[in-house]
């Protein structure tokens, strides 16, 4: 990893130092960066309008007002980093895709993707993307 990127990911303080204060303070709400990042990452999916925004609201609420995450979304967006360099970013993406009907529809990219509510095995009907409920035994080929 480049030293510059490492410093950004190493902590909020470092990130804020490396970003121009002007850029930081005039930037839109960090929530918007999370939405932009998700739409960019999953550019190949037809996500129902407004669904990513609802997810990000729920994600922020369920994770508390996690300032570190929100600042990292912003720095990640500006520095064009990927989820490979941030566990928080990976979680944001992973929870999003797990919280939709994408896996229930067997990862069919032609179908519109809907947010079903924040991922929870205690609230959602099918939460394991590998589940035999989606892929019954008779559909798994023999060897």
């Amino acid at each position: 990893m480049e030293r510059r990127k490492f410093l950004v990911l190493a902590g909020v303080g470092a990130g804020m130092c490396l970003l121009s204060p002007a850029v930081y303070f005039i930037a839109p709400d960090t929530k918007e960066f999370a939405v932009k990042l998700i739409l960019k990452e999953f550019y190949y999916l037809k996500i129902a309008p407004g669904n990513v925004e609802r997810y990000v609201d729920d994600f922020i609420e369920s994770n508390g007002n996690d300032l570190v995450s929100r600042l990292k979304w912003k720095t990640t967006y500006y520095l064009k980093l990927s989820y490979h360099q941030s566990d928080r970013m990976r979680d944001l993406f992973r929870y999003f895709i797990l919280s939709t009907d994408f896996f229930i529809n067997k990862t069919d990219e032609t179908k519109e993707v809907h947010y079903l509510g924040m991922y929870s095995p205690y609230l959602n009907a099918v939460t394991n993307p590998y589940s035999f409920i989606i892929y019954p035994p008779e559909t798994i080929r023999d060897v």
Binding site: L98, Y122, L123, N128, P129, Y130, S131, I140
Partner: protein
């Protein structure tokens, strides 16, 4: 309490106590008096699920985080357990492989640690009995000898499992598990939510849903909120059990006492009772687990029907155990372990590699300033276990050569496997252990010390089935 004197006093209501009681009751006289002291309370699974859903429950006051129950000196090493009716059946994940025969004779076979004073054949009928009680789902053929069929059919394989099973036969099997593959009279079928700690379906076996009926037996008196402080002994015989209940201290006479709390508390009670066996509390530990992600080229790993789809025994038993630890592979059906690359989301297998470890007296349990809080000192892993990791890293690419592997990602060792083993190890004499082969204390001959604390060595297989079978064995042979 209803009586001043009991035929049997049992501490705890987890697996060890419940299976012991189950066998004891089948042999006890009709007017037997049994007192069970449970320091937690009944905290039903239905109420636990409410909490998980974000709803209110009056039972939440009974939550007792494990971190508050012990003084854990090494914060990097975690020891989760549940304090409530049913003990850690409330938080286990339902994995029930048997041990391999050589797990019981590590010294004779490999020159490592000690042999158990019992062997696989001694336990075999009790394994079957425990599997029947738990309605274990499992395959027709296993790497360990088995003379009975599993009560429920095996869970479904993924394509990865099928390929590995084809190559390795009985060394790669559907994991025997107490997560029901079909609905039973007391449990629903597993729906692969992979959140077994509090199962959304009530599909895993717990003492609460077991149907064992031991705590409804009219001979049994169950007291909640009762914490054993110590045992009063005279002439190497336990005379009384001293416990607190309702803010008062009680003393109850007992013919026989069985400690069925976990190794931390069994040890604490023994040490506070004057047990001077040099090994009490010494050499406790557990297996070492680490996750490996196997990225697959153009192959999905979907279709599993439970949390652990399969067990791989390719690195388990053999001459390598003379040099380094055995490894049991768990094929996890883990929702979080997805890939984010387009078109490859499910092209990953997630393996938990679980390594045996050796009892080491530098790892020990002792008392603290608080009568009820044991102090836990876990200092180090054995080089035997750590060398097992290195061997796995070398061997795994070859083992997986039948799969289209893109890359392997090795994670750091996990902070726990959810097991607490040793501390009151089983042995042939008091010089190399605390209890005998019937789990009776070498010094106090009317005292059973149950549970995984009695394990002489710490093989890689999950311990619950074995500790449950040991309880059945001990009660059957002793009464």
């Amino acid at each position: 309490m209803k009586h001043e004197h009991y035929d049997l006093v049992v501490a705890g209501t987890g697996f060890a106590s419940s299976f012991f009681l189950s066998k004891y009751l089948s042999k006890a006289k009709a007017d037997a008096k049994i007192l069970v002291l449970e320091k937690g309370h009944l905290y039903p699974m239905a109420e636990r699920l409410k909490i998980k859903r974000g709803e209110a429950s009056a039972y939440q006051e009974y939550e007792r985080p494990w971190e508050n129950e012990i003084r854990n000196i090494n914060k990097e090493k975690e020891w989760p357990f549940s304090t409530a009716y049913g003990g850690s059946s409330n938080c286990w994940w339902g994995c029930t492989p048997r041990f391999m025969p050589n797990d019981f004779k590590m010294k004779t076979k490999y020159g490592i640690a000690d042999d158990w004073p019992i062997n696989y054949n001694d336990l075999e009928p009790y394994y079957s009995e425990a599997e029947e009680i738990m309605s274990v789902s499992g395959p027709e053929f296993t790497p360990f000898p088995k003379h009975t069929k599993y009560p429920l059919p095996a869970h479904a394989f993924t394509l990865v499992d099928k390929i590995l099973h084809k190559k390795y036969g009985n060394l790669y099997i559907s994991q025997p598990g107490a997560r029901a593959s079909r609905a039973t009279s007391h449990r629903n079928a597993c729906m692969a939510f992979s959140s077994c700690e509090t199962c959304p379906m009530d599909a895993k076996f717990t003492i609460e849903n077991s149907g064992m009926g031991v705590y409804n037996d009219k001979r049994v008196e169950l007291s909640y909120g009762a914490e054993v402080l110590h045992l009063e002994t005279a002439n190497d015989v336990v005379q009384k059990v001293i416990f607190s209940h309702g803010g008062r201290k009680h003393a109850i006479k007992a013919e026989v006492v069985a400690l069925g709390t976990n190794p931390f508390f069994n040890t604490n009670i023994l040490l506070r009772s004057g047990d001077n066996n040099a090994l009490t509390g010494k050499g406790f530990g557990e297996q070492l687990g680490m996750q490996v992600h196997i990225y697959l080229d153009n192959m999905t790993n979907a279709g599993g029907s439970t949390w652990v789809n399969a067990n791989g025994y390719m690195l388990y038993d053999g001459e390598h155990r003379k040099q380094h630890a055995a490894c049991l592979i768990e094929a996890n059906n883990a929702p979080f372990d997805i890939r984010l690359e387009r078109g490859k989301h499910l092209n990953v297998a997630s393996f938990r590699c679980v390594f045996e470890d050796l009892p080491n007296n530098k790892n020990y349990i002792t008392t603290s300033a608080d009568n009820l809080v044991p102090e836990v000192h876990f200092k180090e892993r054995s080089s035997y276990a750590l060398d097992g990791i290195e061997n796995m890293k070398k061997q795994l690419p070859s083992i997986l050569s039948c799969l289209p592997v893109e890359k392997l990602i090795f994670f750091d060792p996990a902070p726990h496997e959810g097991h607490i083993l040793g501390g009151t190890r089983m042995s042939t004499s008091r010089h190399n252990g605390v209890v005998d082969k019937h789990l009776i204390h070498h010094q106090y001959r009317n005292l059973f010390v149950l549970g995984a604390g009695a394990f002489t060595t710490f093989g890689p297989s999950n311990p619950t089935l074995t500790l449950s079978a040991l309880s059945l064995f001990a009660a059957d042979k002793s009464f």
